[in-house]
Amino acid sequence: MVNYATAAVEKAGVMRGLVSKNRVPLGSEIYNRILETLYDEAAALDERRFDDWVAMLEQDLLYTAPVRLTRSGPNKDRDVMRTMMHFDDNYQSILMRTGRLSKSAWAEDPPSRTRRFVTNTRVAECEAAGEYEVSSYLYVERSRFDNPHNETLSAERRDIWRVVDGAYKLARREIIVDQSTLGMSNLAIFL
């Protein structure tokens, strides 16, 4: 285990920035298509069209959400703890999750009403042709039963989207939530 109580400065645990320097500018054709894809994805999830969502996923998908830790001193900005996650999924396990949602998944039956807001989208070219690094902010409002107070969650998503037969498909997603202690009762919804 990585010792997260350590005083030594860690190389891991940093969140910020796109890795690639080859930015895809706002308003360009590729940027617009990717942004449109993110909006389509949010709509599919908000409308619980899980088959449509799965169709947007690549089979080598890695889908993770590391935990955050409140730290001080030399590691104060290294608070993304990739040794522990809220989601640690791949394509097969996502299929297991969506399959469950079609049966007796009481955590979402009756379903939540959700609204995913996707903003601050930045795009850069990956080294592999046809792959794009996409960083976006996500804000989720989740309404459950007759509770007038929504549960909310804010996060940055660091994705890799890949062009496949003219469409963009999700190959990597790392969801960096902002809370060290989540205020959402469960993550029975996708982020």
Binding site: M1, V2, N3, Y4, A5, T6, A7, A65, V67, L69, T70, R71, S72, G73, N75, K76, M81, T83, M84, M85, H86, F87, D88, D89, Q92, S93, L95, M96, R97, G99, R100, K103, S104, A105, W106, A107, R144, F145, S180, T181, L182, G183, M184, S185, N186, L187, A188
Partner: protein, 462 residues
């Protein structure tokens, strides 16, 4: 039946009105009553042993993590002599938190407010501007340390209590130690926490998950129906109640309120249903189907660290789920994977009170330290996919408990009762080696009622 001195709430209700020992009922209002909550903090959380951390979280001198004992925040540290200390995270000067980070390493904890400083063992070093003696001249430095809790490390698990002269940790574990050793004290290097715990807050009282941790096996058939539909546990969606997978075994418990469900894998999981241990030695059984978290290389260590009887149980009918009173859930489970493997999932939870209406769910995830790296990786994934924030099992629990909480506030609803009347009665199965209160057969309410009796005894004992 009544003997003990107890308390009376402002509306006249006594402990016996809330926990009805003659009819095996508990008033739903216990989940929402604020006066009762304050008494629980004093009589349970400031008194009994509480699980805070694991020693692999703080491997080096000066390492610390910050945790909560009830609503009292503490610093869990390791000093230069390798001793572990638990100290209140409250500066004796002006009440500020001495540690503001969740984890770190420090040989001196300096309060950021006025600079009073403390060693990892909680002792006071001094205040800034030494010549002015800003700690005053009333109390000596030896009186100005952080308040210390009593600590016990068991199987690497760090427990603490404020009851300095109270029952020993062995008395707290009682007869359950025999079974818990099979989970926590079975290998040479012991368990390793794989990363910081998952933490999340639910809008419900701590006792709603708490009483479930008293080995509520029955809810699995209905609340966790998707496990049967997914083909993980024996049977199909249509035959869930006929086959009742995972319901038959031996529930073990004790008057301290702890319990564990011991289950044969073949009776629980579809993928193991063809395995027959008939005529096989203990060692052969371990190789055919190692208990959750145990790999081939670790099997010889089991014989070294446990008694022959303990190894036999682990090989045949291992403890899998249960809890320790008041707020610990144990889930050391077989976890069949989508890729066909099953290396198990080892998780502990604590349910930490955050006021009468909220609880923090802390999910500690483990593997054996000497398990192969790929197995640890698989087990981390198993635990995350099954338990905690996104776990497909526990997301259903996390959605159910707040709804019970909502009911506990209704003026009529609060006087309804929780019923623990499906009782089996203690019965020793033939050939069973361990001690404790034993309930063989279909899982019933006995262990959860024992949980409430432990609650009753602590609440009655001012």
């Amino acid at each position: 039946m009544l003997q003990k001195a107890t308390f009376t709430l402002s509306d006249g209700a006594t402990l016996d009105d809330l926990v009805m020992r003659d009819s095996y009922e508990v008033a739903l209002r216990v989940m929402s009553d604020e006066e009762l909550y304050k008494l629980e903090m004093e009589r349970i959380f400031a008194k009994t042993w509480l699980l805070l951390a694991h020693d692999t979280e703080i491997p080096n001198a000066g390492d610390f993590v910050v945790r909560d004992m009830g609503e009292d925040q503490v610093i869990v540290t390791r000093d230069r002599s390798d001793a572990i200390h638990v100290s209140l995270n409250v500066c004796p000067h002006r009440g500020m938190k001495v540690c503001t980070a969740e984890a770190g390493n420090a040989h001196a904890h300096r309060c950021i407010y006025h600079g009073w400083a403390f060693r990892p063992d909680g002792s006071f070093i001094g205040a800034p501007v030494e010549k002015e003696q800003m700690h005053g001249n009333v109390l000596g430095k030896d009186k100005l340390g952080l308040k210390k809790a009593r600590v016990e490390v068991y199987g690497g698990l760090i427990f603490a209590t404020w009851d300095i002269e109270g029952p020993s940790f062995d008395e707290y574990l009682g007869d359950m130690k025999y079974y818990l050793d099979q989970l926590f004290c079975r290998t040479d290097a012991g368990l390793e926490m794989l990363g910081p715990p998952q933490r999340f807050v639910l809008p419900c009282n701590w006792k709603i998950p708490g009483e479930q941790s008293g080995s509520d096996g029955f809810h699995t058939l209905t609340l966790h129906r998707s496990l049967m539909e997914g083909g993980v546990m024996g049977g199909t969606a249509e035959s869930i109640y006929d086959n009742a997978p995972g319901m038959y075994g031996v529930d073990v418990s004790c008057e301290q309120g702890h319990s564990l469900r011991c289950l044969e894998a073949a009776q629980t999981f579809k993928m193991f249903s063809d395995i027959s241990f008939e005529g096989k030695t203990v060692e052969e059984r371990l190789h055919m189907l190692p208990p959750p978290g145990i790999t081939e290389n670790l099997i010889p260590q089991l014989f070294k660290n446990l008694s022959a009887d303990q190894v036999e149980q682990l090989a045949t009918i291992p403890p899998q789920v249960g809890g320790l009173f008041p707020n610990i859930l144990v889930a050391f489970i077989f976890a069949p994977r989508t890729d066909g493997g099953s290396s198990g999932a080892l998780a502990l939870h604590t349910y930490v009170p955050r006021g009468p209406n909220h609880v923090e769910f802390i999910n500690f995830i483990f593997a054996e330290k000497d398990a192969p790296e790929q197995v640890k990786r698989d087990m981390l994934q198993n635990s995350i996919q099954q338990t905690g924030t996104s776990g497909i099992i526990e997301q259903d629990d996390a959605d159910t408990w707040p709804q019970i909480m909502r009911n506990a506030r209704g003026v009529v609803s609060k006087d309804q009762t929780l019923k623990y009347q499906a009782l089996h009665g203690h019965e020793r199965p033939e050939g069973w080696k361990g001690e404790g209160l034993l309930y063989p057969g279909f899982t019933k309410d006995d262990t959860q009622w024992n949980w409430w009796m432990a609650y009753y005894n602590l609440m009655a004992d001012a």
